[in-house]
């Protein structure tokens, strides 16, 4: 329902008339008139509580004052705020006096100083002098709630914003109000960390300096900072952020409110992993291999690369992290200048028809749709770890009464609000098929899901995650489920601009807008804009490119913002590929593990240093703004691509971002994908890969490049590598909890500490992709799942002693 359908109420605030939907709180109605009523506990994204009592207003005809944050508007109400009511103003001053009784006078050393609602109000209308003669409350401080969040109880005004956030929004109820009366205080339980990937939001919404980030304590003053609005570059949530710099270095990232996207929240990775662009490993000059890698000019590199590429056997690997404009430039470069479709950004290759739709049609399913859904089916996605803000939106829907179902090999943090069906990774397709085919009844999980989907119709959302793309059919089966019940559908991949890359055609079979390379009409539409488009046959996928490299079928491999040794599931293949391709051109912020392989390096500007757009999982393209200029000689990727094109004797046809956008706009306009039956016809029975199945995906906080330098974040949230095994499987193999296991596949083996848990499906073994100690890709070959065997490593000393006795 939009506001237009809702019942409207007209009232006056300080004599000004306003009409708002029924149910609106007075404080919100006043805001719409530009009247700010002071508040501490009130937060537009949290439920009203009426605890701080700061927002008193007078209501004509009422004896008692009312808190405007808990009182809904009524027809004909005459509300008088502090601006027109002396009584309301007196009450606000008196309340401020109460709040300041025990508040320390440490503003000069408080991180909140200069941007503190309490300080602002005290200055604006607080009592100038305190009538309080007694000693103030004293607490030990600061208390480390986690490696990221510190608590100063003396500054706390007990507004309960932080605890309500953990209760209502994240569900990570590790901080609570303890005790009562004047002894009431925010606390964690002894021995229990505030281990939540959303913990930093509590710092941001704290209306005083009680909660502070360890990364920002004593780091800066608001007047020291320069600030720019941007979009987070970590995952496909598309969070709107504000980046604060001091002397050119990022010191803080904050969430910006956007009800269409991230509400008011970001995850801790987005908030605290900002150091990577400023690390010593950053390279900001072009390099070319002579004796070693020597600094040269861009033009020298371009010339060399053009010479290497003359034979035409060129391929491009990239990640889902190039901004929209740069992705478009690369897509065009590969096709029109190098004449190849060997370009790919994906890690999991089987998006199927769902991928084509995602490329063609942005915003078919949005955060709003998720929020309002009555039924949500999530398959192949660990939302909290992969797309955290989507996870929060699913929780929000659940709080509003949505039924949530999850199909996944491993329990997710939606567990308290969703029904999970844990199944081996290769069984997810089968579960989806059974949902598709179910005829009602309410016996099985599949019956319940299909019945719920049927009832909800268009008010249901089916979310297919990247894990499904491991199976050639699974995403399309999920799509068929959505189509059968009339549900909305979203294919959600993880990296910040995966969707933008897909839209731009960084895909061997798809051109911009999801147009198929192999379809004459669709290819023709691109040709009309570009002039030429390269071959009509689809190119190689990322994996096929690496295989071709390994077979020496490629001469020049461009690695644009990607490190196949770390980012792809088959480390051995990546190593062979790099060894067997003649020229490796690396473009990005640093060389890292690619240093021994690189023949040329092209320094790119960091996320925070460029203009452009980024497309979130919904397909929403949002502008990001440079918060500073590119370091050293580094340049935005699209400029590098334009330079390369020129060196190759070509021309990308745009000399500025505006020209680029103008050209791309037509090709990226939403288009309907012709109805096409999916390849899926039913597999009948689940296919078992083997005795056990190893599966892997990156956790939110791991050894990924973008997390380098985020030490406190890692201390708070990063686990060393581990393997999860179901108790039934453990028992059969004599594996004991807390011991070690050897996970063996054809590709390799891993020796890991084991957790025995029912949170992983029987028959499945989970190893996170890139935790410290043991990256999973040493044991992965084709993709992120792999047949495997597990055996206990040498029993621990305790059981030895037992045996000896």
């Amino acid at each position: 329902m939009t506001a237009a359908h809702a019942e409207l109420v007209t009232l006056t605030v300080d004599g000004k008339e306003i009409t708002v939907p029924k149910g609106t709180l007075i404080i919100r109605a006043a805001e719409q008139l530009g009247i700010e009523i002071p508040r501490f506990c009130d937060h537009p994204f949290l439920e009203p509580i009426g605890a701080c009592r700061q927002c008193y207003v007078e209501l004509e005809g009422q004896r008692k004052l009312l808190t405007s944050c808990t009182t809904e508007v009524g027809p004909g109400m005459e509300v008088k705020t502090q601006f027109s009511s002396e009584v309301a103003q007196d009450a606000q001053v008196a309340n401020l006096e109460f709040l300041l009784l025990n508040h320390p006078l440490d503003c000069p050393i408080c991180d909140r100083g200069g941007e503190c609602p309490l300080q602002d109000q005290a200055l604006a209308f607080g009592p100038g002098e305190s009538r309080y003669r007694e000693p103030k409350r004293v607490y030990e401080k600061p208390i480390a709630l986690s490696p990221l969040v510190a608590l100063d109880r003396e500054r706390c005004v007990l507004c309960a914003r932080c605890t309500r956030f953990c209760d209502e929004i994240s569900g990570d109820r590790f901080i609570e109000l303890f005790a009562r009366s004047a002894g009431e205080r925010v606390s964690i339980a002894a021995g229990e960390d505030f281990r939540s990937p959303f913990s930093g939001n509590t710092v941001q919404i704290c209306p005083v300096g009680a909660l502070t980030s360890t990364t920002y304590r004593f780091a800066a003053r608001p007047f020291d900072l320069s600030t720019a609005d941007s979009v987070c570059g970590h995952c496909s949530s598309g969070c709107n952020v504000r980046v604060d710099l001091r002397r050119g270095e990022v010191v803080r990232v904050l969430a910006r409110d956007n009800v269409e996207v991230n509400d008011a929240w970001i995850c801790d990775k987005g908030r605290y992993a900002f150091a990577h662009a400023d690390l010593d490993t950053r390279i900001t000059t072009p390099l070319i291999r002579d004796q070693g890698l020597e600094p040269v000019s861009f033009d020298e590199v371009f010339g060399e690369v053009a010479r290497w590429s003359a034979g035409g056997r060129v391929a491009f690997l990239t990640s889902g992290r190039l901004p929209d404009e740069d992705a478009y430039a690369l897509s065009k470069l590969a096709r029109t200048v190098f004449g190849t479709n060997d370009v790919d950004h994906r890690r999991a290759p089987n998006g199927g028809h769902a991928e084509e739709i995602a490329a063609a049609t942005p915003l078919a399913t949005t955060y709003r749709d998720v929020e309002r859904a009555k039924v949500i089916l999530v398959a192949g996605l660990d939302a909290e770890q992969e797309v955290p803000i989507l996870h929060l939106r699913i929780r929000k829907a659940a709080r509003r009464g949505a039924k949530v179902f999850v199909i996944h090999p491993r329990a997710t943090r939606l567990r308290d609000v969703a029904e999970h069906q844990l199944c081996r990774p290769e069984h997810q397709t089968y579960v989806l098929e059974r949902i598709h085919d179910a005829d009602g009844g309410d016996g099985t999980f599949e019956d319940r899901v299909s019945a719920a989907l049927r009832e909800a119709g268009a008010e249901a959302v089916v979310i297919a995650g990247e894990r499904l793309a491991e199976h050639p059919l699974a995403t399309d089966v999920a799509l068929s489920v959505a189509q059968r019940f009339g549900a909305r559908f979203a294919y959600v991949t993880r990296r910040a601009n995966d969707r933008g890359a897909l839209r731009a055609g960084l895909h061997p079979a798809l051109l911009p807008g999801g147009r198929r390379v192999s379809n004459d009409v669709e290819r023709g539409e691109v040709e009309a804009v570009w002039g030429g488009v390269g071959p009509a046959d689809p190119g190689r996928s990322a994996r096929q490119i690496l295989e071709a490299c390994a077979r020496r079928e490629i001469d020049v491999l461009f690695l644009v913002g990607v490190d196949p040794l770390r980012d792809f599931p088959d480390a051995t293949l990546a190593r062979r590929a790099l060894a067997n391709v003649r020229y490796k051109v690396v473009q990005g912020l640093e060389l890292g593990d690619l240093e021994p392989y690189a023949d040329a390096f092209l320094p790119a500007a960091a996320w925070s240093e460029r203009d452009g757009h980024v497309t979130d999982w919904e397909g929403r393209s949002q502008p990001m703004r440079p918060v500073r200029g590119p370091l050293g000689l580094s340049r935005p990727d699209w400029e590098i691509f334009a330079g390369l094109a020129e060196a190759m004797g070509g021309d990308l046809g745009f000399g500025s971002l505006d020209e680029l956008r103008e050209e791309a706009a037509g090709l990226l306009a939403p288009r309907a994908v012709p109805e096409r039956s999916t390849a899926w016809t039913g597999t009948g029975r689940p296919q078992l890969l083997g005795d056990l199945t190893l599966f892997s995906y990156p956790l939110l906080v791991d050894e990924g490049r973008l997390l380098e330098g985020a030490d406190q974040l890692k201390a708070a949230l990063e686990d060393p590598a581990f393997a999860e095994v179901h108790p039934d499987d453990a028992e059969k193999r004599g594996v004991q909890d807390g011991g070690r296991v050897r996970v063996k596949t054809e590709a390799g083996e891993l020796d890991l500490p084991v957790r025995i848990t029912r949170d992983v499906a029987a028959g499945a073994i989970f190893v996170p992709f890139n935790q410290p100690g043991s990256p999973a890709n040493a044991a992965l070959a084709g993709g992120f799942i792999e047949p495997a065997s597990v055996e206990a490593v040498e029993a621990g000393s305790a059981s030895n002693a037992e045996g000896a006795a």
Partner: protein, 443 residues
């Protein structure tokens, strides 16, 4: 002189057991009620004019009628046996001496709102009374008063006893519900009102023990019988709990509208040792104190309000001429500071501040500007807090300053307590609030 109604059985120890209670005519009203429609039953209680005895005096029948029917959710009846208002002790004795009378009233109320599930929220500190009730409930189940087939009518009714754990605020009905649901006992926003969204988000009726004890008698004797007792707007009897400086402290069931004079002199034996009446609370510590001049005030909702106080729970705490009003006020405010749930600012900070200022005055560290300060803090707390607990704290502050300001001034001028001699270097009696540092000042 009206005969006692709800304390009529107090002389008969046999009624504690169900057989004795039945022999005395017990559970007949429940049988009668089960033969009526819920709507008729509610009409009878409405017509009787019975008002809630927990303090607020809301018409009981009207409250019953607010509970919506056919919502598709369960409906709950909750009895509030969290009697904690200082000076109040009638619920405890009603349960100790006649538990089945209460259970009968609860059963009738539960039936009247179409509920099958009743909870009794018991004060945890009432270890023995709670055991009396536990045994009575077990007997009632055994005799078919509760269970799948109440008195053979086929109406199922379950009763669950739930003990609190030491928090005055849980007597406030929304805080009680928070506590019963397993949360900290902090009050909740209204609306939604408990009648609509109460326990577990379902329609819920909450009644005080004394209120429910009246119900079987109204069903038995009729609405007009009850309405004919006492004043028109506050019909029935009230159990007045009398304590403090009187010769015969205790519970006295008298018609509403009985004057303090009658209660004190004819029933409670007058002020202890024949001393002069100095101050008294009409309805527990949360109601403004009155003085010797108010002896003739009739103890009913309207008359006490007209005298500038509240009938509250009808708990009369009597202070005589040797008692220090500043210390009495300090002790009461310290109670509110200790029992404040912590949720809202004026209550949490205000009661704490006042208790410290009063502690200073009582121990000889008062300053002349403290009295206007106390006036001001009281004004700034009153009607500004989340719930009525803080207003209760303001009652002793404002009333003592109104009637005994000279005594405060004397404390400040003499730099000591004129009654106890407490002053600089002389320790007074202090209460610690955990983590508050309160003891630093009062120690």
């Amino acid at each position: 002189m009206t005969d006692p109604i709800i304390t009529a059985n107090w002389g008969n120890p046999d009624v504690v057991g169900i057989d004795g209670y039945v022999a005395a005519g017990g559970y007949e009203s429940l049988r009668t009620a089960l033969g009526m429609t819920p709507a008729d039953l509610i009409d009878v209680v409405k017509a009787s004019g019975l008002r809630g005895r927990g303090g607020a005096g809301f018409p009981t029948g009207v409250k019953w009628s607010f509970v919506p029917q056919d919502t598709g959710k369960p409906t709950y009846a909750v009895a509030n046996f969290d009697e904690s208002e200082p000076g109040t002790f009638n619920n405890r004795e009603l349960i100790e001496r006649d538990p089945h009378q209460f259970l009968e009233g609860l059963a009738i109320a539960t039936y009247a709102i179409g509920s099958h599930e009743a909870y009794v929220y018991c004060r945890g500190e009432f270890l023995w009374p709670d055991q009396v009730l536990e045994r009575a409930i077990a007997e009632a189940f055994a005799k078919g008063v509760f269970g799948d087939d109440v008195l053979g009518t086929g109406y199922p009714m379950n009763v669950i006893q739930h003990r609190g754990a030491g928090a005055y605020i849980c007597g406030e009905e929304t805080a009680l519900l928070s506590s019963l649901e397993g949360f900290r006992g902090q009050p909740r926003l209204r609306p939604p009102f408990p009648a609509v969204e109460g326990l577990y988000g379902c329609p819920t009726l909450i009644n005080n023990v004394e209120t429910l004890c009246n119900v079987p008698h109204i069903v038995r004797n009729g609405a007009s019988w009850f309405a004919g007792i006492g004043p028109e707007k506050s019909p029935g009897t009230k159990i007045f709990s009398v304590s403090g400086k009187v010769e015969r402290p205790g519970n006295y069931e008298l018609p509403m509208g009985t004057t303090l004079e009658t209660l004190l002199e004819e029933h409670a034996g007058g002020v202890l040792g024949g001393r002069r009446l100095k101050a008294w609370t009409p309805g527990g510590s949360s109601t403004p104190m009155l003085t010797d001049e108010h002896r003739d005030v009739a103890l009913d909702f309207e008359s006490v309000a007209a005298a500038g106080s509240l009938l509250g729970t009808g708990a009369i705490i009597v202070m005589d001429e040797t008692d220090c009003i500043v210390e009495a006020t300090r002790r009461l405010v310290a109670f509110y500071a200790h029992e404040s749930c912590g949720k809202c600012t004026p209550c949490r900070e205000g009661t704490w501040w006042v208790s410290r200022v009063l502690g200073r005055i009582e121990s000889g560290y008062g300053r002349p500007e403290d009295l206007p300060l106390l006036d001001d803090i009281g004004k700034n707390i009153l009607f500004r807090a989340f719930c009525a607990l803080a207003d209760g704290a303001v009652s002793p502050i404002q009333s003592s300053l109104r009637y005994f300001r000279d005594e405060y001034e004397q404390h400040i001028a003499e730099r000591r307590c004129p009654f106890t001699g407490a002053g600089p270097g002389v320790q007074t009696h202090g209460r610690e609030v955990e983590g508050s540092g309160l003891s630093e000042v009062l120690g």
